[in-house]
Each structure stands twice: as structure tokens, then as C-alpha cells.
């Protein structure tokens, strides 16, 4: 499968998934479509020549994070969602997001160099070994900071979500 076919296929998957996330009323359906969208983005990473990132995308995003979403939806045990209605505020927000999309198109009008095919750089291939070396040499300090952020987020999440004890105010 050449790059063009792969790109068209996977971007169609990603976009249809994303559209259904926004449009589905039932949050469980939205999560499942989001998994589909993430798999499409993983395929895009594959066509970009980064198989490592595609694997991590499938494992961390489509696996771990989406399971977290599903667990929370199951815990909440929501009633069947009703139609949220179309209000003036919602129309305005849709208009604002359309304006954002148009703003994101500006580089394609102003920068003609983007039209050229992207030739892959030849210096370092994206292998797990090269990514690891870059991560632990050039980016060692950011890596440690991110690991600390993850730890703090985990402790904070446990503290926030934990049921308050009887003797303390909610």
C-alpha cells in the first residue's frame, strides 16, 4: 500500500470517527467512535514512517485512556441522554469553531512551500533505539519533568476522586 492510499484511508477513518464523537448523543458511542478515530491517527503515524508512535498511540490512547473513559461512564451510570437542544449559545459556539477552522487554513494561503511533497530527512531513521537515545540524552530533563507531572497527576486524581470520610466536611 503506497503512502497516498494509506493517507486517504486512515484520514477518512480518523475524520469519520471524530465527526461521530461530536454528533453521538450517547457518551458510550462517542467513546467507541473516538477509539476508531485514534486508530485512524495511528495509521497516519504509520504512513508518516513512525511505527513506534503508532504502537504507542494504540496502546496508550486507544487502550488505556479510552478504558478510563469507559470505566468512568460505567461508574456514573447516566440516564439515557436526551436531546441537548439548539440554543443561541450553541449556534454562536459552532460559528466560533468554524472561524477557528478558517483561521487554521491561513498557512495554506500564505505559505506556498507547503505544497511541495515532504521529502523525508535522511539523518536519523525513526526507530525505537534512536527515539530512546534522543529521549534520554537531549530530552532527559523534560522527560524527568513529565514523569513527575504524571506522578503528581496520579496522586491528585486519587485524592480528588476519593470518597470523603465521614468525619470531614465534603
Amino acid at each position: 500500500m503506497d503512502e497516498r492510499t494509506g493517507f486517504l484511508l486512515f484520514s477518512a477513518i480518523a475524520l469519520v470517527g471524530a465527526l461521530n464523537v461530536v454528533l453521538r448523543r450517547n457518551p458510550v458511542h462517542a467513546v467507541l467512535w473516538l477509539v476508531g478515530s485514534f486508530l485512524g491517527v495511528a495509521g497516519i503515524f504509520l504512513t508518516l514512517g513512525s511505527g513506534l508512535l503508532a504502537a504507542i498511540q494504540v496502546m496508550v490512547y486507544a487502550g488505556a485512556i479510552m478504558v478510563l473513559f469507559l470505566f468512568v461512564i460505567l461508574l456514573l451510570n447516566l440516564e439515557t441522554p436526551r436531546f441537548e437542544g439548539i440554543s443561541l449559545a450553541r449556534g454562536a459556539s459552532l460559528f466560533a469553531s468554524a472561524a477557528t477552522g478558517l483561521l487554521l487554513l491561513w498557512p495554506f494561503v500564505s505559505d506556498r512551500s507547503l505544497q511541495a511533497p515532504a521529502t523525508p530527512a535522511v539523518n536519523l531513521p525513526v526507530t525505537a533505539a534512536n527515539v530512546g537515545m534522543t529521549l534520554f540524552q537531549r530530552f532527559a530533563v523534560p522527560f524527568e519533568i513529565v514523569s513527575l507531572v504524571l506522578l503528581v497527576a496520579m496522586v491528585g486524581a486519587i485524592h480528588v476522586a476519593r470518597r470523603p470520610r465521614r468525619d470531614e466536611p465534603a
Partner: protein
């Protein structure tokens, strides 16, 4: 070869869908999912732009974005759980205690 602009257009489309979902939906869980969509769009742009210069660095940046997204989801879902315990709703319009 696929032009770089195609990847950036895909990224822009995904980001716009995320913005639309975040702005228009009132279910706070779906709003979080829209944020995930936006982060994914940023990842696509990172990797696509890095390909012509330093592909390894683009992958490293995307890994950082994924780690930040994971911690954001953990804290955000904990907040949604705590709010639901307090208010019995996840509708963002019905949570207005901080409104002046």
C-alpha cells in the same frame, strides 16, 4: 509522496472538530473527548512537520503530548467523578456555583 499540506489539513480538520465538540456539547465527558481530539491533531502536525527536518524529534514531542494528555485525562475524570457525586449531573450547564 503525499504533500505536507495534506497532513496539516487533516490536522486542522481534526482540531476544528475538537473545538466544535468542546464548544457545542454540554456533556462534560464528551467535552473531554473533544480535548483529546485536539491533542491528537497537534500530534499529527508535530510528526508531519518534523518529517522533513528531524523525524526523531517529532516523535519525541508527540510522546510528551501523549504523556500530558494521560495526566490531563486522569485529573479531569477524577474531577467529573467528584462533581457527579456532589451534583448528580455531568451537564456543564447545570454546574454554575462559581458564576457571579
Amino acid at each position: 509522496m503525499v504533500p505536507q499540506s495534506w497532513y496539516l489539513l487533516l490536522s486542522a480538520a481534526l482540531f476544528t472538530l475538537g473545538v466544535a465538540g468542546f464548544a457545542a456539547r454540554r456533556n462534560s465527558l464528551v467535552m473531554f473527548m473533544s480535548v483529546e481530539l485536539m491533542l491528537n491533531a497537534a500530534n499529527v502536525a508535530f510528526v508531519a512537520c518534523a518529517r522533513a527536518h528531524e523525524p526523531v524529534r517529532g516523535t519525541v514531542y508527540a510522546l510528551f503530548v501523549i504523556a500530558i494528555a494521560a495526566s490531563e485525562v486522569a485529573v479531569g475524570l477524577a474531577l467529573v467523578l467528584a462533581l457527579f457525586r456532589l451534583k448528580r449531573t455531568v451537564n456543564a450547564d447545570e454546574i454554575r456555583e462559581l458564576r457571579a
